[in-house]
């Protein structure tokens, strides 16, 4: 059995394409039936439309990549009016809404706008974007601020609220506990690790934004460790992510304490990766003697 329960909603499998790597689903729906996924987390959405940072926004490194997209999105109204009706044509399951903001009021306003949308199952609140100033990660690096965002969002929605945490902190368990105490229904982690590359020819940073978020297989052990720590620190469900690119990675994350697993960067290199993971999960479970995926959460 690959079915799992995520904050009261049962999903067919724990495989969830991560926000920022899957748009609003449309590009992938052209490639395969995305209904085979547990769900997916859509592109981080803010109150107003955003262009994001200047390009180059992408750099490469050994076993991974850096991005400094900076929350490009069409704004919550366009998402509700245009993206979600389009998505409905190709995706019949509840989708996870990824939300970002630059103030408590903005987080609350976006979540309030999305609360009435039936298609949305969960709100994943991003307090960990490393690529914007004055918002995003600044809320996720202080336990007090993280709790304040959680409380502000919980006040305006009845949907499960999952707080997406930054790994760029001294003690991630402190932030996770603060979110739990403020009423969060789940925690997802990790967002990207801050990094940089320098172009040796130009002798300047590759990214226009200088720094960017590191993701891909390079971050997997760090992510796994943090998922393990957080899962031991809170009682609410944890979604693990960071460098997962195959069924083994999904199982490893679940053993560390993840109830579900998001897959990000891998989708950009192999657009079929999540389809393949879903397909390969039963064989991997059999290989490791796992009957029910839910039974292995956090047993490592």
């Amino acid at each position: 059995m690959t079915k799992i329960s995520l904050c009261g909603i049962t999903i067919d499998n724990p495989v969830i394409p991560a926000s920022g790597a899957f748009g609003y689903g449309r590009e992938f729906a052209e490639l395969y039936d995305i209904n085979i996924l547990g769900t997916f987390s859509f592109k981080g959405t803010t109150l107003e439309p955003r262009f994001g940072n200047e390009t180059p926004r992408i750099a490469e490194c050994n076993c991974g990549m850096l991005n400094s997209v900076g929350l490009q999105n069409p704004g919550v109204d366009a998402v509700v009016m245009h993206e979600l009706p389009e998505l409905k044509k190709v995706f019949a399951k509840p989708v996870m809404a990824n939300v970002s903001g630059f103030s408590l009021e903005e987080y609350a306003a976006v979540c309030e706008r999305l609360d009435g949308v039936e298609q949305i199952g969960w709100l994943e609140v991003n307090i960990s974007c490393p690529n914007v100033r004055g918002g995003g990660m600044s809320f996720g690096t202080s336990a007090k601020q993280a709790a304040a965002v959680t409380a502000a969002v919980k006040k305006v929605t009845g949907k499960p609220v999952i707080m997406k945490l930054s790994p760029n902190v001294t003690d991630i368990t402190e932030i996770a506990r603060a979110c739990e105490d403020a009423g969060a229904d789940g925690i997802s982690l990790i967002n990207t690790l801050i990094g940089m590359r320098i172009d040796l020819q130009r002798k300047k940073p590759v990214l226009a934004n200088t720094f960017g978020g590191l993701s891909g297989p390079a971050v997997f052990p760090v992510a796994l460790r943090m998922v393990y720590q957080v899962a031991h620190a809170v009682r609410i469900p944890v979604i693990g992510m960071g460098g997962v690119s195959d069924a083994d990675g999904v199982i490893e994350m679940m053993l560390a304490g993840a109830s579900a697993v998001e897959v990000g960067a891998a989708n950009l290199v192999n657009p079929y990766v999540c389809r393949d993971i879903v397909k390969n999960l039963p064989a991997a479970m059999e290989k490791y003697g796992i009957e029910n995926l839910e039974d292995i959460v956090g047993i490592a």
Partner: protein
Amino acid sequence: MKQALYEITSNRRIADAVYEIKLRGDVTEIKIPGQFVNLKIDGLYLRRPISVCDISGDCLTLIYKAIGKGTFQLSEMTAGQTVDVLSGLGNGYDLSVSGIKPLLIGGGVGVPPLYWLAKRLVEDGNSVTAVLGFNSAKDVFYGDEFRSLGVETRITTADGSYGVKGFVTDALPEFYTHFYACGPEPMLKAVYRNTFTSGQFSFEERMGCGFGACMGCSCRTVTGYKRICKDGPVLKKEEILW
């Protein structure tokens, strides 16, 4: 878009650090000149986007310059080896608006996508002119290939060591009905200023995915934000904010 394994049939140097690679595979998704493919190169995380130079039967021709880790590694691959290719990416050039005397303007490794375009425009019965710019004689490639299509081909080099001395804008014909350009951004900007008809530009940007998912290669246009990889790489002259 299609993911498939292609087999290399040849990979040879045709100018200074410039290589022509021919691959055989499922090319059914490659439909329009100006589209690109995204190659997976062993040991490197992200794919490498390269524009389609020609399609002939099930043979795909690409031309690339070995300037970084990925392209160096690609230049060392040999016939018989296989490459994982995502094909059919990008919008490509609109051929329907070419008029009877289209002009192609290419600079350096911006020249390759214009080759298949030239072939198709000639097949459609148009009288095609190509102005191809390079830095120096050692960088020049594909002049004869364009000429053998029946294209009036003018070559410029910045140092005057081959063809007309100067830039592509120094060799533009007086009359043409529409233009198609691909090359480095300073060249594209010069073309933008020195042309009098409607036209199309193909752009380059560092990409994450190459198929519109990651927003890594966005740009601002008159009609809003566009992804170079999915809404481009070809943009119309009137869309561009310069």
